[in-house]
Amino acid sequence: MLKFTIRRLIISFPQIILLSILVFFLGSLMPGDALSGLIDPTVPIEQIERLREQMGLNNPWYIQYRDWIVAMLQGDFGHSFFKQQPVLDVIGDRMLNTVWLSLFSAVLIYLIGIPLGLISGRWNDSPLDSLITGYTYLGFATPTFIFGLVVLLLFGYTLGWFPTGGSVGAGITPGTFEYVISKIQHLVLPSFAIALIGLVGTVQYLRSGIIETKQKDFITLARAKGVSEGKVYTKHIFRNSILPIAAFFGYEITALLGGSLFIETIYGYPGMGRLFLESISIRDFSVANVLILMYGMLAIIGTLLSDIILSIVDPRIRIK
C-alpha cells in the first residue's frame, strides 16, 4: 500500500516538470509581453529596451525558465502588472472561495448522487428508475448555465431564500460568526447548481455498476449463503459498484477546483474560473501562466489521488 503510493508519487514528478516546461513555452508564444500595453506609448524605444534587459526578458529561454522556476520555488509567483499586486495575492482570495465552493459541490454531488444511483440501479427499469435516468439525460444535455439560471430564479428571486450574488454579504467583518453564516448562505445556490449537473455522471456510473454487479456469480453465492437482500446490496454489490466512482473522485475534485466559469459569472461569485478568463482577456500573463500551471498540477494530483483511492478500495490493484 505504502510502496504503491510512494512509487505513484515518484512517477508524478517528471510529469510536473514536463508540464512546467510546456506551460512556459505556451506562455512565451502568446503575443506581447509584460511591457506591451502597460507603458505610455510616448516612452522612447531605447528605454523600453533597457527595461526589458533589466527584467531579464532578453535572456535566452532556459535562463528565463530557470529564473521562473527558482522564483516559484522560493514562493515568488511573479507580479500582476495589471493589478499591481503579487500574483499570489491575486489568486489567494479567489482560490479560497473556489475551494469552499468545490467542497460544498462535491458533498452535494455525492450526497444526492449516490442514493439516486443506488435506487436507480437496484430497481432498474422501474418507474422511479426511469424518472432518475430521465433526469440524468436531461442533465447531460442541458448547459450548466440553464440550471444555474433556473436555480437562481427559483430560489434566489421568486422564493428569496438565498442571496443571489457575491461570496459574502456587504459590510460584515471577517472572522465573526455572522461572516461565516453569510459565506455559507452565498455558497448554497452556486454549489447546488453545480451539483445538479455534476451528480449526473455519478448516478450513471453507480447505476450501471450496480446493474452489472448484481448479476455476478459471487452475488448469487452470497444469496446462496443466506445473506438477506438488503445486506447483499450493502455488503456485496455496493462496494463492487463504487469502484468507477472512486476512480473518478480525483478528477471530479480537480474539475471542481478549476472553477466553473458559467456558475461563477451567473452568481457573481469571485472564483478561479472567472479569474482565469479575466487574466487571459486582459493579457495578464503572469497570472494566467501560474493558473495554467496550477490546473495542470491539479490534474496530475487528481490522477494520483484517484489511483491511491482505488488501491485502497480494490485489493487487486495493490499488487503491481
Binding site: F218, T220, L221, A224, K225, G226
Partner: protein, 349 residues
Amino acid sequence: MGEELLSVKNLTTSFKIDGTYYPAVDGVSLDIMPNEVVALVGESGSGKSATAFSLMKLHRNARIEGQVEFEGKDLLKFSEKKMNNIRGGEMAMIFQDPMTALNPLMKIKLQIMETLKIHKTKTKSERESYAIELLSRVGIPNPERVGEAFPHELSGGMRQRVVIAIAIANRPRLLIADEPTTALDVTIQAQILDLIRELQGDLGSGVLLITHDLGVVAEMADRVAVMYAGQIVEIAPVRELFKDPKHPYTRSLLNSLPHEDQMGSKLHVIEGVVPALNKMERDSCRFAQRIPWIPAEAHEHNPELREISPGHHVRCTCYKDFYLKSDPSIGLQVEQQQMAADAEEVTKE
C-alpha cells in the same frame, strides 16, 4: 417411503421471453434420500442448473410452480426470510466457476465467516477459528495465511476449495453441486471430486450433483437422472444406467463417449441442439427432432415417465424402437445415406 430428504414434485420453472412465460424446467419430479448422491445429467440448456437454482429459489425473475419438499417442509411456500435460514444452512450450493464465485473485494476468511454468522450466532472469535478450521478441512495448506488473502491471490483449484468450505460451513443436509469441476483443470478435477465425496461421507448429507460429465457420474453417483429440454427422460441406479440405458438420449450420450476400441474412428455426435424455450413442441417427444431416422409412430403423444423395472423410469415409448445411427448392424444403411447426402452438400458448396 416418507423418509426422503428432498422430494420434488412437478417442479416447473418458467422464464419470461417477450412477455410470455416459458418453462425451462417442465414438470420435474425427483427424490433424494439422506446420504444419497443423485446426479442430474444433460447437455447445456437442458434445465439442470435451472432445476438446482429453483430448489434454493435463487432465480431472480422466474415463476416457480410445483412442490419442493425439503425435510417435510414445502420450500416454495416459504418467505424470503425463512428461505435465508435454509440457504447456506441446511441446504448449500457449490458453484460452477470458482473464478467468479467469490467476492473480489473481501478476504477469504470473511466470506466464510459471513455464512457462519447468518446461521449460528457464534462469537466473532469462534467464527474466525472455525473458518480457518474449515479451510484446512477442505485441504488448503497454510489456512491462516489463505484466510487473510483475497480471491485473486488464489488458484482456481484453491478457490473452488474455498467455495466448498463455504458450502459445508453449516453442515448442510443437502448439498447441491452445480458442475463443480467444469471450470477446473483435469488434474484438479479428480481432487475436488474426491473432496466432495469425502465430505459427503462425513456429513452424511444428500448430494444433487449436476454435471454433463458422465465420467464424474460413474465415479460419484448412486442414482442418475437424465434431463433433456426441461424434462427428466430417464432415472436409474447408476450401474443400471450405464449397463442398460433405455432412452434414446441416454444411449446417444453414452455413445458419444470416446471408447478404447473406437480409436481412430470418428466420435459419435448427437446432431442438432436443444430446442429454444419458446420454439419447443411441448406435447410430443422432445428428443424426436434429433433422431429423425426413428419413425414418428414410435413416439407417444404427451410422453410419460414410466417405471419399466424397479427404480428405472423412462419417458416416451420411442426407446423400444430406437437404434443408434452408427450402430454397425442396423444403422449402417442410414448412416451411409446420411454420409452420401453430406458429401453431396460438400460438393455443392
